[in-house]
Amino acid sequence: MIRTLALCAAAAVAAAAHVPPAAAQSKPPAVERDATTAEFEKFRAVLEADNPAELFEANGAELWKTPRGPKNASLERCDLGLGPGVVKGAYVQLPRYFADTGKVMDAEQRIVHCMVTLQGFDAAALARQPFSNETRTPDPVAITTFVAGQSRGMKIAPPQTHPQERATYAIGREIFFYRAGGYDFSCASCHGEDGKRIRTQQLPNFTRADEAIRSYQGWPGYRMTGGVMHTLQWRLWDCFRQQRFPEPGYVSDSLTALLTYLAVNARDQVYKGPGIKR
């Protein structure tokens, strides 16, 4: 599927040299500003003032600078797109094209790449149990939380200058609208229209420039349920699972494409750093 989509996307890119912006809307979203939603927003704001995510950010900072792995090296030479070791502002400028791998990569995918190439960790081992539970937070999760925190308060700005970056956006859009699985769902089924909700949770419309930020805002997030730290790799995996789709591979290119689509749609909105989630 990815190869077919790549061919379609390549054709699309060849045809149009610029990236179509997210659907511009002339009026604000028809979002229910009901009392419950307002209460929940206040609730999360209180918790985010002293966020347990900070504990994982601190762990991640330690992991970044500690020599580890078979090569006994730190991650301080890791290039997240702004040069080796430059962490500040890197998260909001991802996904982006990397010459050394010849492909577009997202934050966690790049961090895992650095853990493998600089430190000698085994990629398959990192992919085996990549998500947090109550007793264990995998290193890439803590490191991604640290890296994300270093972009706190900055505008989302993934580059779309390289042809592969534009092609990846197009693939991401295809995936977003691709209906499949037993329920014939796509991401757009829940996140492609205004005014949708699941029980008490409002569902933002990620095709809107003013709402796409809500796909990134608060992730990585400290999830109140279980008190665990999760990144967008988990969030997207869980969405696929709930749509009854096959599970996406950890740090796979399909997720990079989706993340590119979402990040480009969220361009220029301010990212507030790791947050609190349900």
Binding site: F43, V46, T200, M224
Partner: protein, 155 residues
């Protein structure tokens, strides 16, 4: 086990210390079991209050409880308590519908404001009950209901 002896640490005059001890909220010095096991293992508010040796507590409008009307997730409910009752020495917190209602007690030295912020687990919609102990051995109480959409005690 904490090495801090609470009674000697939070210095009080002899009279206040005796009253405070009688009140039961401030734990006795050098006791091996500082932590009030009986209260913590009580399954009802009444039993917990008995174990805490809290007698009749007058309702008070001078105890301000700041907590959400609806908690999105009962695993982390932020609660802030401010006591404007003069001579407040300790604040006890109970969640009426929790399997073990007694959550804890917060003691204040003379120069510390009678204020505490904490985050609690609530299993279901319940009253949060606050009891304030004052230096003269009296007790005051206030409640606030918090609605819980997802319970936060178990798995």
């Amino acid at each position: 086990m904490t090495q801090l002896s609470r009674r000697s640490a939070l210095k009080r005059t002899g009279a206040l210390a005796a009253t405070a001890l009688a009140a039961g909220l401030l734990r006795p010095a050098d006791a091996l079991a500082d932590w009030n096991k009986g209260a913590f293992e009580s399954k009802t508010v009444a039993d917990a209050l008995k174990n805490l040796k809290i007698g009749a507590a007058a309702d008070s409008k001078d105890i301000l409880i700041r907590a959400p009307d609806i908690a999105e997730n009962g695993a982390v409910v932020p609660v802030e308590i401010q006591s404007n009752i003069p001579g407040t020495r300790a604040i006890a917190v109970l969640i009426e519908k929790n399997p073990f209602p007694y959550v804890g007690t917060f003691d204040f030295a003379a120069g510390t404001l009678p204020f505490v912020a904490l985050r609690v687990k609530m299993g279901e919609t319940s009253n949060v009950r606050i009891v304030v102990a004052t230096a003269d051995g009296k007790f005051y109480a206030a409640v606030k209901e918090v609605k819980v959409t997802i319970g936060g005690c178990g798995g």
